[in-house]
Assembly symmetry: C2
Amino acid sequence: MPKTELEKKKKELEDQYRSFQAKKLKLNMARGKPGTNQLDLSNAMLDDFNSASDFNASTGDDCRNYGMPDGLPEMRGIFARMMGVDAGHVLIGGNSSLNMMFDTVACGMTRGFAGCKPWGGQEHLKFLCPSPGYDRHFAVTQYFGFELITVPMLATGPDMDAVEKYVLDPSVKGIWCVPKYENPMGITFSDETVRRFACLKPAAKDFRVFWDNAYCVHDLTDTPDRLLSLWDECEKAGSLENVFFYSSTSKITFPGSGIAAMAAADGNLKTIREFRSFQTIGPDKMNQLRHLVFLKNFDGLKNQMAKHRALIAPKFQAVLSKLDAELSGRNVAEWTKPNGGYFISVNVLPGCAKRVVSLCGEAGVKLTGAGATFPYGKDPNDSNIRVAPTYPPVGELKQAVELFCICVQLAAAEKLLKKF
Amino acid sequence: MPKTELEKKKKELEDQYRSFQAKKLKLNMARGKPGTNQLDLSNAMLDDFNSASDFNASTGDDCRNYGMPDGLPEMRGIFARMMGVDAGHVLIGGNSSLNMMFDTVACGMTRGFAGCKPWGGQEHLKFLCPSPGYDRHFAVTQYFGFELITVPMLATGPDMDAVEKYVLDPSVKGIWCVPKYENPMGITFSDETVRRFACLKPAAKDFRVFWDNAYCVHDLTDTPDRLLSLWDECEKAGSLENVFFYSSTSKITFPGSGIAAMAAADGNLKTIREFRSFQTIGPDKMNQLRHLVFLKNFDGLKNQMAKHRALIAPKFQAVLSKLDAELSGRNVAEWTKPNGGYFISVNVLPGCAKRVVSLCGEAGVKLTGAGATFPYGKDPNDSNIRVAPTYPPVGELKQAVELFCICVQLAAAEKLLKKF
């Protein structure tokens, strides 16, 4: 585009932008928060479980009292199906799988794994962070003083050539993974990637894969992704002790009032069970019962997920249609079309992500901070933006994306004009 | 008593013991567990909070979604009243105050307090353990590698002369306290003890008092104990940063499905808030709402406690009457008569506690392990036994205590006969 044409286009975009500012929007697309109508799907949980319910677990224990540190067998069973792991190796937690991951790292720091010296007593710890990835994962290891190492995310999952090389360094202690509908890329790790994780030969005996299957049942289309079970592959490869598995019902029932769980092989399980035996009186069994009465079983859970899909698939579609209509073929952005999860990942022109997020913010649409999807919050290309379409109602969402498309083009025009 | 008479008495006791064994009892007085009728007191909570309830916090936030990391203002307010602290400095946790204490120690280990090097990087850490005390407190600091130092419990609380001397050692990092109806002694710290805590001058800048007010509203008589507010005394003394405050509703509503809370001064609060911001998506707000709808306010909570008292005061009375009737004036045991809390503390003849617990166990009555109330589970006198009267129904409780009294006398007879 010649300079004068570009300047004209920029002026047009600025006019459009200003008219958006005049609307005084106040929309939040920053976090993967379920919408209010999604929350309504679980309200019946509060009625189904009541004073007439049976408070005894299948073990005979009264769920209103102390006890059952591993959680209810049926809840462990549902998570085993969700995560593709063995039910006998599942531990139920509180309301936050992030909390279980943080505590696992805290356990590594203060007690250590596999009989190794606690991480807290070792020098210069490193942790692998496939990026774009989940900011709160990276933040946990940053908080505990690990050096964060960026591993590129490919269409098949983390760049396994890089991972296999990095783990030869004994100071590399783990890797964060969201293997299905990755946050924010929405991709699912390929069978080959899962198998290479199972066959990983880390130099550190206390290296651990943190396999956060946060979106394991969060399909959005008729052609959902399939994730190979890392548990099964590790069993075959004899590498089960290399992995911690996590999931939760945060985006199935109520975020913050759901159930979290983890799974691990015998050695890790012994370490974590010991940690928990000192840490807590045990997880909230009444909330587990409440979930069991409401969801019933894994099929009931899948049924609940179909209802979520019916509410949020149109939101994803609205965003994708708008991006297609406004940005397709203009060489100013690329974006993902996920089969599930909570995010659409947009790459704008290098050097433009911060500007786009700032422009949107100044017009009343809050996006995830640019760079958040990379270690230390620094995107080396300043290009990736995470779009979270689930929270705003469709009408507001359409407005927000319209603004977003204007900002993407405006930032691109600003950048290109600097070249003249 | 001459030898022959003692032998005759021992034979009688053995006969009584054997007839108890024949009853094949199976009773548990090991832990401070509420009885089933106490749990029933909170069943209505499940009905009062239902799908028709208002899910918005007073702040306008939807409690079904993410957010509000400090907890609901009204819940913080109730805990402020319970703990005698400022509501703005209360943080709501999950279902376990033990978990909050463990996490505080973990925070000290990995991040440190008051800008000091994390405890994990310091040498030879020590922690003060007023004893007899709560085994799970001591266990937390043992787990993290602290040397546990026994401080005698007096009728006024921990021996403050000893405490004041110990804290001159900069490697002493804290002290465990249950200031009201102490577990297991049932005593409440005197005003002077509280004031001496407020005026403590620890050598270590990162020394912290862990003030676990677990039984703050758990009165059992018409003459309840009064605990001076350490918060207020510390404010006067300018020593508020020396203390972490804890409590929970575990023995108010449902153990394991209640609400825990802590309070701290600004500096500590900043450190703990930061820890929590990395650790978790926040506490379960729906369970907070459920509690607020049910308990309403601090008066509602006190009303609930009166109902608990009506159920368990007779159990304490049953134990105390039996102890009086069977053991009074025999010089084989001393015991506490608490105005609240969950325990009766019995001191049998030195060297007899293990034997009594073992005799009771072999006749089907499980007691807290002898020694559990001391650091490392080792009672130097092998004398203290913690009796937890709340869980068994009164009828069974009476049987259990009858057996207990036989075992106390039998163990004493065995011991005295060895002297001849």
